[in-house]
């Protein structure tokens, strides 16, 4: 008998007024009982609309039925057939525009909490299952993977299982990509990402940190080193600025810098070596997940007031619903239809304010979203001491600048076949944000997996 409640079983969370002062995880996860109760809301529809909404086609009704039966290990096994990072995806996927959007239960009431259930199964497995890896026999061929974000990790994970010797080249001193330097601890505990990486290491993947491809090695040099194919999963890490006056004042950060200091360099800890400015009044410009993470980090560092300044309306916010909801609960103030035009500073060059104009929504633009236009006479100043710019990132030019035969488009994204990740250069495949521009974890992961398959076919075809 399905559970016909119109609402999802609530997930226990830290109280907003407590959690906005710490960096511990916000959502605490379902207990076994809660998971079974929520799993019973699934109608196990014959046509399985949810699966079509999942970029990697997780067998959703199947794993949820298994949870409902209390078969948690089997549920986990079902998920990882197509998703190698369920503990991550259960936490950060935009389920409301993917699987849960298609859920029949969502027509009247809330959809089944697919993301929470995925997280439950993954967390349960981490706690209860002893991971053993069968070592596939090695086939003697080497593949290089550039970048250790979700695309690189999933590509490496599949290739090692196929018998390749896989080396990941990572520019930073720690592997994980955005999962470690961007997404904060309170949303995605770093210990969890490390477990996924440890799993790859246990299977024989080699991770070489401090290796900046384009500098330490070029792609051509990787081939000279004996790699038969290369996968580029270098992400989109180059921060965009607004090109407004005052952007170089002291107290203006890119979201990347702000979050890297906090997450990768642990600047939120009081005794960390790497410093961060703890602003008292902070404006974050932008409306995506990155902006939410920056704002919620700023409040946790002790800010009294944190604004999200976004030039469109609430409806257009690209961030995950849950993050917007959490940000509001934690006291973040949203300034919609507001666009910064200048950053003001004092005589010593420190930020004192953000000058903005109000916007109205005009005609829809190419993306179908209504284009904001300036409202006459609406100029005003937000008094802040810190401004964090979070208006998007582009792929880093280091690789394309040193690989002349690698085709890129006008935004600097690598041109690659959607199905296989094949680039314009023989033996070189690419996927994730480096190809699509800033997107999602699940898409990057899917691209890594697709490329692993194509790399296998490519190497076999060469004999």
């Amino acid at each position: 008998m399905p559970n016909m409640s119109l609402k999802k079983v609530p997930i226990p969370e830290q109280d907003p007024q407590v959690r906005n002062k710490n960096f511990d995880e916000v959502a605490l996860g379902y207990t076994e009982e809660m998971a079974i109760e929520e799993a019973k809301r699934c109608l196990n529809c014959k046509h399985k609309p949810c699966i079509a909404g999942c970029p990697v086609n997780v067998q959703i009704p199947e794993f949820i039925s298994l949870i409902a039966e209390g078969k948690f290990a089997e549920a986990y096994e079902t998920i990882i057939q197509t998703n190698s990072l369920p503990a991550v995806c259960g936490r950060v996927c935009p389920q409301e525009t993917q699987c849960e959007q298609r859920c029949v239960r969502g027509i009247k009431g809330e959809p089944v909490a697919i993301g929470r259930l995925e997280r439950f199964a993954a967390d349960w497995a981490m706690k209860h299952l002893e991971k053993t890896y069968e070592k596939t026999p090695r086939n003697g061929k080497k593949v290089a993977v550039i970048g250790s974000g979700p695309s690189g990790l999933s590509c490496a994970g599949d290739l090692i299982k196929m018998g390749y010797d896989v080396t990941i080249f990572e520019a930073f001193h720690t592997a994980g990509g955005v999962l470690v330097y961007g997404i904060p601890e309170f949303r995605l505990p770093k210990a969890l990402v490390q477990k996924e990486i440890d799993g790859l290491l246990a299977q024989g993947v080699e991770i070489r940190t401090n290796m900046v491809i384009g500098k330490t090695f070029t792609i051509d040099e990787l081939f000279q080193e004996g790699y038969s194919a290369v996968f580029i999963g270098s992400g989109a890490g180059l921060p965009n600025f607004m090109n407004i006056p005052g952007e170089n004042l002291n107290g203006v950060y890119s979201a990347n810098e702000f979050l890297t200091r906090i997450n990768l360099m642990k600047a939120y800890k009081n005794d960390a070596d790497t410093p961060i400015k703890r602003g008292k009044t902070v404006a974050v410009v932008g409306g995506g997940n990155v902006a939410m993470d920056a704002a919620r980090s700023a409040i946790r560092l002790g800010a009294d007031k944190v604004y999200i300044v976004y030039r469109r309306s609430e409806k257009e916010l690209p961030a995950r619903l849950e993050e917007i909801h959490h940000a509001k609960e934690e006291g973040i103030i949203f300034k919609f239809l507001t666009n910064p035009i200048r950053i003001l500073g004092d005589e010593n060059g420190w930020v004192t304010g953000l000058e903005c104009v109000e916007m109205e929504l005009g005609e829809p633009d190419a993306s179908g979203r209504r284009r904001p236009v300036v409202k006459e006479g609406s100029q005003h100043i937000l008094e802040v001491d810190t401004v964090i710019i979070s208006i998007g990132t582009s792929p880093n030019p280091l690789i394309r600048g040193t690989t002349p035969d690698l085709e890129t488009n006008q935004w600097g994204c690598i041109v690659a076949d959607e199905q296989t990740g094949q680039t314009s250069k023989e033996g070189v495949f690419a996927g994730g944000d480096a190809v699509t521009g800033a997107a999602t974890v699940i898409l990057a992961m899917g691209a890594g997996k697709a490329a692993a398959k194509a790399i296998d076919e490519y190497i076999k075809s060469k004999g």
């Binding site: 001193h173 330490t216 890119s254 070596d273 410093p275």
Partner: protein, 281 residues
């Protein structure tokens, strides 16, 4: 990995470490830098590649102990290893077509300028080197610079080594005496680079400066190292660190270098204990 194979104390605050880093040594060029972490959890410290030996697979760094992280680095010894050593980063210096150059090193900047002098010298360029220090106890790399220059002038602010004056005044004198230069390379504290750029501007001499803003990744992903050059934002770690001194907004650079003053003071005090623990051990 990243083992220290040689350590030298150049003056009370400046130390030299030669480090095993074959992948960096293989590609290093003058003008480039590395980022290291002395230990896990440590800060990422950008330092110029002062020298490299491709055959031995080593890279030499020379650094001044200005704060907590560099002092900790200075407390390490031969046989110790660094946690991380990443590079070579930044764009290598280019000197095509140069016949006569003046290299100006201010204090520790002398160490950063050394590989450029060496390179120019090896290209057969006529190199004048002017290095300046606050007093004679702080003089570094005198022998090394002498070996890669046609003329070396070492000056001190207080005249304690017999030659008194700022490097910029000496450069101006040389120019006024009729010396001509295709390029001036000025490396040192931002204020010194600014003054040298002001000296060369009226003569229209191309002036290259090496900017050391605060960096984290060194690969262009944070923008913390941004500087204004010719009115445009540049990321010093990937577009530089060498820039045209006549185009650089030095005041902004100086201001941005002071962002973490308070934190740095606190870190110094905290590290003092850790450091003393180390020294006593």
């Amino acid at each position: 990995m990243y083992k220290i194979v040689r350590k030298e104390v150049l003056n009370a605050q400046v130390k030299l470490l030669e480090i095993e880093a074959p992948f960096v040594a293989r590609k290093a060029e003058p003008g480039q830098f590395i980022i290291l972490r002395a230990y896990d959890e440590g800060e990422r410290i950008p330092l110029t590649i002062a020298d490299y030996d491709r055959e031995k697979g080593t890279v030499t760094i020379i650094f001044q102990e200005v704060g907590a992280s560099t002092r900790l680095l200075g407390s390490l010894n031969v046989g110790d290893s660094l946690a991380d050593f990443c590079g070579p980063l930044g764009v290598a210096s280019h000197f095509e077509g140069v016949k006569k150059a003046a290299i100006i090193g201010g204090g520790l900047g002398t160490a950063i300028a050394y590989p450029q002098a060496k390179k120019l010298h090896s290209m057969g360029v006529d190199v004048d080197v002017i290095t300046g220090f606050r007093n004679k106890d702080l003089i570094i790399l005198e022998k090394e610079m002498a070996a890669v220059s046609n003329r070396l002038i070492v000056t001190t602010d207080d005249g304690s080594n017999g030659t008194k004056g700022f490097v910029s005044d000496i450069l101006k004198k040389l120019i006024d005496e009729g010396n001509t230069y295709d390029v001036v390379v000025a490396i040192g504290p931002p204020i010194m680079m600014k003054v040298v750029s002001d000296v060369t501007r009226p003569y229209g001499i191309k002036t290259i400066v090496s900017l050391n803003p605060i960096m984290i990744d060194g690969t262009g992903m944070c923008g913390g190292c941004r500087v204004t050059v010719g009115g445009k934002i540049k990321f010093a770690c990937v577009d530089g660190p060498d820039f045209d001194g006549h185009q650089v907004d030095f005041n902004e650079l100086i201001r941005r270098l002071s962002i973490y003053k308070d934190h740095e003071r606190a870190a110094q005090e905290r590290h003092q204990c850790r450091l003393e623990g180390k020294i006593n051990a």
